[in-house]
Symmetry: none
Subunit: 409 residues, 2 copies
């Protein structure tokens, strides 16, 4: 069941402020049975002190056993059921690279491929070219193609064989099939509209087929990258905004395109953050300077995830310590409700996202007693908030902030 | 997903008896961090002894963060998903005041309002009149209006500016709009059917508009209460009964109209209870005298909620103690399955319903081991039943009573 209409009915604006801190990939695992996780191994005096005055729990981001990508993980935390609020692969890629992607645009995920002399797919990833090769070929396409049938065509490099195309123009649709046949030894598919009497998708499929042929001409002389396969053709989704559903003025404080993109999908203002990479000081300054202008803040830290993906246990623990040292500056803002959690787990022994629940710390008025002495996965498992789903977090934060009225008389 | 059809398929009649005790608004909060809740502060030797032989858990009545009204809170405990089994505001008010409200009737929530000399709404609540004023004006309306177009019209006072109207007659409908414009400076709305080709709702809207005009004539000389606004026009909902879904003969032992009303909505027999207010002795006697006639009993106590709403921590704890002293008489009936819980929390520091989970005690055969030494929110949070939703309680009670067959072969 979609809870957003129910919550929209009950939500009300109040002066209280909510700060949702997402430490990306926060959840971890012990390196050997019985050992500490990254979070437990970290020296975190500030988090420890906060945990003693907070309530803990575990969040299953989307569903037990399911490893969420960044999109579904974050949508859940924002209260959007990720099985209902779907983002197509092309749209998610466009958002993830920070492309200029607007309402009505169609985003397409492209793969560079190698075709044989008869036009059949030999390698669906063109031998995984280097990022530099990708950049070179994308530049070549940009120089050669800028519009088809009056629809502007913009190419963006992603990494290796991956790129993104954005179509912009009147009357586009995304109810069209991929051109990626998902196997070798066959020709790339023609894109077809799902419904032949849908004029905008029919036009979009035709443009994609023309684009595919044009690219093949342009890349004719390339030794490896001489074809393209299109997947996940999708318009920018139109989701209800946080301001509509929760009646908050919501701001995003993040520095990587994917997170800014997902936040803007749900209608947050994306605040400018100065500094490189995770830009911790810039983020704190953005919060401080905008504290009076909003009543919901989403603050994102990336490095707990990337160090986990690198398989670097010590470094992930260290990134938690870096956050811990920053915590007093966040507490000094005196958020009425402060939640610290992750969008998914990234255990360094897995070197990837995982399905494990993420620990949640809630510092707010009207909490039950909680035995927590530290903020760790183990203590969170026995915390007073119990085990919740990711989508259940927002109503809880709103309730503790006094922003939800009674349901039914 | 609606579980009632699944449960109906599996339920079977057995001689075992279930006693569901609802201590209204049972869940509480500490007055200061680390302190006891009302339940923990109460001296409860009988509950303590029972807790040692029981299993504990926490129930989230309807959804994390959502504060339930009495209607959704109770429907959940009876196994009816409150997002699916909806009760309109007019119907719930009619039920809440114990009006004679039958299948096919339409219940209307009325507000007394002040209109200015040109007929525009000046005050949607007519300056919140006293209950005595309300009673006087309702008596005036009763004396003047008893039927329109052959449909009987019955007025009931509620409190302050609130009253209830019940329409009874052939061919009424509730797919009609409110006359309350929800703002001042405009005229009351005309009620319109949602669909002009729906004859019963068209007729009901017309009757409500006539009623509105008639009331305005009658109240013309009143200085403040000279208009009415109608809201939440709703038929009595038709829910499947407990006897149909669970194959039990179900009885309600309650003394306040709202609870008797919700119980009768789900088809319970409402047993007469002698005594005033919470009428504890009368309730125990009603149970004892009817013990052989039913196999499911819903026993309701009100005062844990009303003392919480008063913000009286000590008095709420005292009401728990009053229940504790009664407990041996309930145990003497030897229910096969005894559950003690609340329909929602009413922490005295909140002075209102809240979203916090309620503690659950289950005394029944075939329990797992449980560490509980007392029946408190904290112990319930670590109880062997875990954290459940309100709607999940009934299947569990039926299972422990041997009333649910295996699902699937």
């Amino acid at each position: 069941m979609d809870m957003l209409p129910v919550i929209e009915e009950l939500s009300q604006t109040t002066p209280s402020r909510i700060l949702l801190v997402v430490l990306d990939g926060l959840g971890g695992l012990p390196q050997q049975p019985g050992g500490p996780t990254e979070l437990a191994a970290a020296h975190t005096p500030n988090l420890d002190a906060l945990a003693k005055q907070s309530a803990l729990g575990l969040l299953t981001p989307v569903y037990p056993g399911l490893t969420p990508g960044s999109g579904p993980g974050h949508l859940s935390l924002f209260g959007y059921d990720p099985f209902r609020y779907l983002v197509g692969r092309g749209a998610l890629s466009a958002i993830g690279i920070g492309a200029d992607f607007r309402d009505g645009d169609v985003g397409v995920r492209g793969n560079f491929a190698t075709l044989d002399s008869t036009g059949l797919v030999r390698d669906r990833r063109a031998g995984r070219p280097s990022d530099a090769e990708n950049l070179r070929v994308v530049a070549k396409l940009k120089a050669a193609i800028s519009a088809i049938e009056g629809v502007s065509i913009t190419f963006y490099p992603e990494s290796e064989h991956r790129f993104v195309v954005i179509l912009r123009g009147e009357g586009l649709g995304d109810r069209v099939g991929d051109t990626d046949p998902q196997k070798t030894g066959v020709a790339p598919l023609h894109s077809h509209p799902h419904n032949a009497s849908d004029p905008s998708s029919t036009r979009t499929a035709r443009i994609l087929n023309t684009l595919s042929a044009r690219i093949q001409e342009i890349l004719e002389d390339e030794p490896k990258i001489n074809g393209v396969l299109f997947r996940g053709i999708s318009e920018k989704p139109q989701f209800p905004s946080l301001s509509q559903v929760y009646k908050v003025r919501a701001a995003c404080v993040a520095s990587y395109p994917m997170y800014k993109g997902v936040a803007s999908l749900v209608g947050m203002d994306v605040l400018p953050v100065e500094g490189l990479e995770d830009a911790l000081e810039g983020k704190v300054r953005a919060l401080q300077e905008n504290w009076d202008k909003y009543d919901f803040f989403y603050l994102h830290f990336k490095k707990t995830d990337s160090t986990g993906e690198d398989g670097n246990f010590e470094e992930k623990a260290h990134k938690v310590e870096v956050f811990d040292r920053l915590l007093p500056e966040l507490l000094a803002l005196k958020p009425d409700v402060l939640a610290i959690t992750g969008d998914h787990s990234t255990p360094s022994i897995v070197k990837a996202h995982s399905w494990h629940p993420v620990p949640l710390l809630l510092h707010a008025p009207l909490l039950r007693n909680d035995p927590a002495q530290r903020f760790t996965e183990d203590e969170a498992a026995g915390g007073s908030l119990g085990h919740l789903r990711g989508v259940e977090l927002m109503p809880l934060l709103l309730a503790h902030a006094g922003k939800l009225q009674k349901y039914g008389a």
